[in-house]
């Protein structure tokens, strides 16, 4: 059960440029830090974030260990048609989650 907060307008006019913001709970462990026993804590980061609008990719972000824990991302998109905005995060240790929001464009 991933904890994700997505913020995007539920409605927009065709041609509007809307902002999409997303927060996801994730440790973004860098793989450079020693743990309590002195051993390096294995890297556990989200590597890729993608956003699609009715299945067409509109934005992608390649992340590194320098992205903060509980990553935040914001970007813009032109409202073209009603449908589904789907956000997907994938990364180390088989991490793969997605969240979708509906948008009505008139």
């Amino acid at each position: 059960m991933a904890n994700i907060l997505v913020n995007a307008p539920k409605m927009a006019k065709r041609g509007d440029v809307i902002e999409i913001k997303a927060l996801i709970m994730h440790p973004m462990e860098t793989g450079f830090r020693p743990g309590p026993n002195g051993q390096i804590i294995p890297r556990n980061i989200i590597e890729h974030f993608t956003a699609t609008w009715n299945d067409a990719e509109i934005f992608a972000l390649e992340m590194s260990p320098a992205i903060s824990a509980n990553p935040f991302v914001s970007f813009f998109a032109v409202a073209t048609e009603s449908g589904t905005i789907r956000l997907r995060w994938t990364g180390d240790q088989g991490f793969a989650v997605e969240e979708q929001v509906a948008i009505a464009v008139e």
């Binding site: 059960m1 904890n3 994700i4 907060l5 913020n7 913001k21 927060l23 996801i24 709970m25 440790p27 973004m28 020693p34 743990g35 309590p36 002195g38 903060s68 824990a69 509980n70 935040f72």
Partner: protein, 258 residues
Amino acid sequence: MTGLRFGIVLAAVFGASLALAQGGSDKRRSGYRDMGAALQQMQDDDTANPGMLFVQQGAKLWEQRVGTADKSCADCHAAANVSMKGVAARYPAIPSGADKPIDLEGRINLCRVDNQKAPPLPPESQDMLALLAFVSRQSRGLPIAPPDDPRLAAYREQGAEIYARRQGQLNLSCAICHDDNAGKKLAGVTIPQAHPTGYPIYRLEWQGPGSLRRRLRNCLVGIRAEPYPAGAPEYVALELYLMDRAKGMILESPGVRP
């Protein structure tokens, strides 16, 4: 201090005194006001405040049936925005049928054990912090309002005494930093007045959420004092004193702090 860079910054840590620019006679200010614009914005915007991830998780836990009683918080308390409104503003308090104060974590665990018949949640566990964040969120915007219960006076005094007492290898009291030197810089960080307005907070240093207890523990370790063991009554006493000292100030939970 395994492999971490451990800098000991000696002497000359308190820079020039900053005037506490504040109108009115109330000179109290939340740690929020000592933060830069970027962090204030992060706290103010629910879609950017990472503490809201934990509030969201707490909302899910609120509905979850657990324990041998197979009851959720919602089964007894219904809508949290009604039943939990103002609750975080008046804890610690003495629950009915008891004679000692407990803080909000203690109250949540009392319900876990007595009402849900489930094991208590470990302190600072993600589930505890999530429930704490969710319950506290219901009091955001409300003034801190400690109960009038006369039985609390002795505990508050104990908290005040700890606050004023010099301790640790650095031989400092909470008051020396948070009353006498608040607003000044300590190794680049502004010393806040230590008002518990944002708890539980999302602290950037922790890269996660934490309770007031954890924050107090950090300050004890910072002055190289032996922190009280988890669950020690001294924490509740300090919390009672701090809440009384911040009476009337507005709750911001979940706050963001550096």
